[in-house]
C-alpha cells in the first residue's frame, strides 16, 4: 500500500502514468496495446480510489478517453459508427499516441536539463583578482552631467503640473517662449554665454524657472550645447554647430514651442507666492 502511494505521488499527470505503464510493458509507444493500456490505467485509478487518494481531474478525463477508445474497439469494424464530425485523421488512438510521444520527448529533454542543472552546480567561473596598472588614470566619471540632473528636475516639474491641473493658471509676464527668444538672441549676438549670466538679472523665481525651462527646451531641440569645461568650471552655453538656422526657434516651429514649453511653464510652481513685480531685465 505504501508503495502504491509513493508511486501515485510521483506521477506528474495521466500522461506520465501512461508512460510508466508502457515502460513496464517494455514496448515501444507505437506498439502499445491501447486497450490493455486503458485497462491498466483504469485499474490504477481504481486503486487510487480504494486508497482514498485524491484523483486529479486530468486523470478522470484521461480515463474517459481511454474508456472511449476501448469501447470503440470492442465493436466489430463494420459496426463502428463514425462519430459525428470525426474525420479520418481524428482517430482518438492517434491523438493519444501523438500526445504520448510528444510528452515522452519533453520528459527526456527535462531530464537532460536536470543533468545540466546538476553539472552547473559544479562549474566555477574563473574570477580573477582585479587588474591593477601603475599610474591609474583618475576614476572615470559616470556618463552623466549636470544637464542630466537639470533635465531630471524639469521632468519632475512637468509631471507635477500634470498631476495638479486644478491649480490656477500662473499669471506672470514671463513665458518660456519669450525666454527661448531671449536666449537665442543672446547666443546669436555673442556666440555663447555663461550659464549663470542668463540668470543674473532675473527678477524673481518665476523668471528663473522660465529661463531654466527655456534653456532645457533649447537643449532638447538641439539648438544649444552646454559644456562644463572642467570640474567645478563654469557651464558654457553655445549654439549647436549643426543647428538649423531657425528650425527649432519658436517662430519657425510654433506648434512645438507652444506645446512643450507652455505646459512646463504652467506648472506654476510659484502660485500663491506673492511674486515680486517682474522687472524687465
Amino acid at each position: 500500500m505504501a508503495e502504491y502511494k509513493v508511486q501515485f505521488e510521483v506521477f506528474e499527470g495521466p500522461l506520465d502514468l501512461l508512460l510508466y505503464l508502457i515502460k513496464k510493458e517494455e514496448v515501444d509507444i507505437y506498439q502499445v496495446n491501447l486497450t490493455k493500456l486503458a485497462t491498466q490505467f483504469i485499474e490504477y485509478i481504481d486503486l487510487m480510489r480504494q486508497f482514498d487518494l485524491e484523483i486529479a481531474g486530468e486523470f478522470l478525463v484521461m480515463a474517459s478517453t481511454l474508456m472511449y477508445i476501448k469501447s470503440r474497439e470492442l465493436l466489430p469494424v463494420d459496426q463502428q459508427v463514425a462519430v459525428e464530425g470525426e474525420e479520418e485523421g481524428e482517430d482518438p488512438r492517434w491523438e493519444l499516441i501523438r500526445q504520448l510521444v510528444e510528452y515522452k520527448k519533453f520528459k527526456d529533454a527535462a531530464s537532460q536539463l536536470q543533468t545540466l542543472e546538476a553539472r552547473q552546480e559544479n562549474v566555477f567561473p574563473r574570477l580573477p583578482g582585479k587588474l591593477e596598472f601603475e599610474s591609474t588614470a583618475p576614476l572615470p566619471k559616470p556618463d552623466v552631467s549636470i544637464f542630466d540632473l537639470l533635465n531630471a528636475v524639469n521632468n519632475v516639474l512637468r509631471r507635477f503640473e500634470k498631476r495638479d491641473d486644478s491649480r490656477e493658471i500662473f499669471e506672470d509676464k514671463w513665458t518660456v517662449s519669450d525666454k527661448i527668444e531671449f536666449i537665442l538672441k543672446v547666443i546669436v549676438e555673442r556666440g555663447g554665454v555663461r550659464f549663470a549670466e542668463l540668470f543674473e538679472n532675473a527678477a524673481g523665481r518665476s523668471e528663473v524657472v522660465c529661463t531654466f525651462l527655456a534653456l532645457l527646451e533649447l537643449i532638447r531641440l538641439k539648438q544649444l550645447i552646454c559644456a562644463q569645461g572642467e570640474e567645478f568650471g563654469e557651464i558654457e552655453i553655445r549654439r549647436a554647430e549643426n543647428a538649423a538656422p531657425a528650425a527649432g526657434a519658436p517662430g519657425a516651429d510654433p506648434a512645438r514651442s507652444d506645446a512643450t514649453p507652455e505646459p512646463a511653464l504652467r506648472q506654476a510652481p510659484a502660485v500663491g507666492e506673492t511674486p515680486e513685480p517682474p522687472r524687465q531685465s
Binding site: 496495446n33 469501447s71 470492442l74 536536470q114 542543472e117 580573477p128 582585479k130
Partner: protein, 231 residues
Amino acid sequence: MELKFILESLLFSAQKPLSVKELRDVFAAAAEAEDADATTQSLAKVKDSEMTAALEQLAREHEAAARSYRLACVAGAWQFVSQPEYAPWLKALVGQKIRPPRLSQPALETLAIIAYRQPITRAEVEQIRGVNVDAVMQTIMERGLVDVAGRAEVVGRPPTYGTTALFLEYFGLSGLEGLPAADELRKIVVQKPPAPVTVEPGLATTPPEQLALGSAEGTKEETPETPASGS
C-alpha cells in the same frame, strides 16, 4: 598579435562574462588611448563575425588541450569556467556556490516545453503536459527563468511565454540553439505507424462488465503482451 590571443587575455582577466559587444567596446576603447600603437588602432573595429570566429576557435583549442578549465559561452557571453570534476577542491577554496534549490520534475518538464516551443501559451503547455500548470508556471516565473514573451494571435489574445537569459545561465547554455536535440524537439513529427495496435477481434465479445473500472484482471490474460503474438 593574433586576435584570438588578445581575446583570450581579456577573458582571462575579466571579472565577469563578456559578450561580443563588450569585447568590441574594449577594442574601440584601447584604440582611443593616447599611447595606442598601430596594432591597437588597427583593431579598433573588429568585425563581430571575425570576433565570434576567433572565440569559437579559442574554445575549440581549450577543449582540445583538455585542461582543468574551458572557455564557455553562456547566454551569449564568454567566460573561462572550471571542469565540474574539480568541484570538491574549488568548493573548499571559494565555498559552495550559492544556487537556488534544484528544480522539481514538473518545473523541469514545463521549462523544457517552453524552452523548445517558445513563444507558447499556457494552454499549449498544459496540452502537452496533460495537467494544469498554474502553480509550476508561477514558480519558474518567480525564479526568473521564464517571462511573458508577447500575446498569441488567437481568441482572447492570451500571453505567450519564453525563457530568459537567466534560464540559459542557470543551465549553462550558450543559447537556445544549444539546447539538447533542439531541432527535433521544436517540431516533433509523429509518424503514423501502418496501423495502431488494436485488440484481437475476440475482444469484441468481451462481456460489458469488463469495461467497468477495476475489471482489469480478466482482460490482462486475454490481451497478449505484444501485438505480434496471439493472432
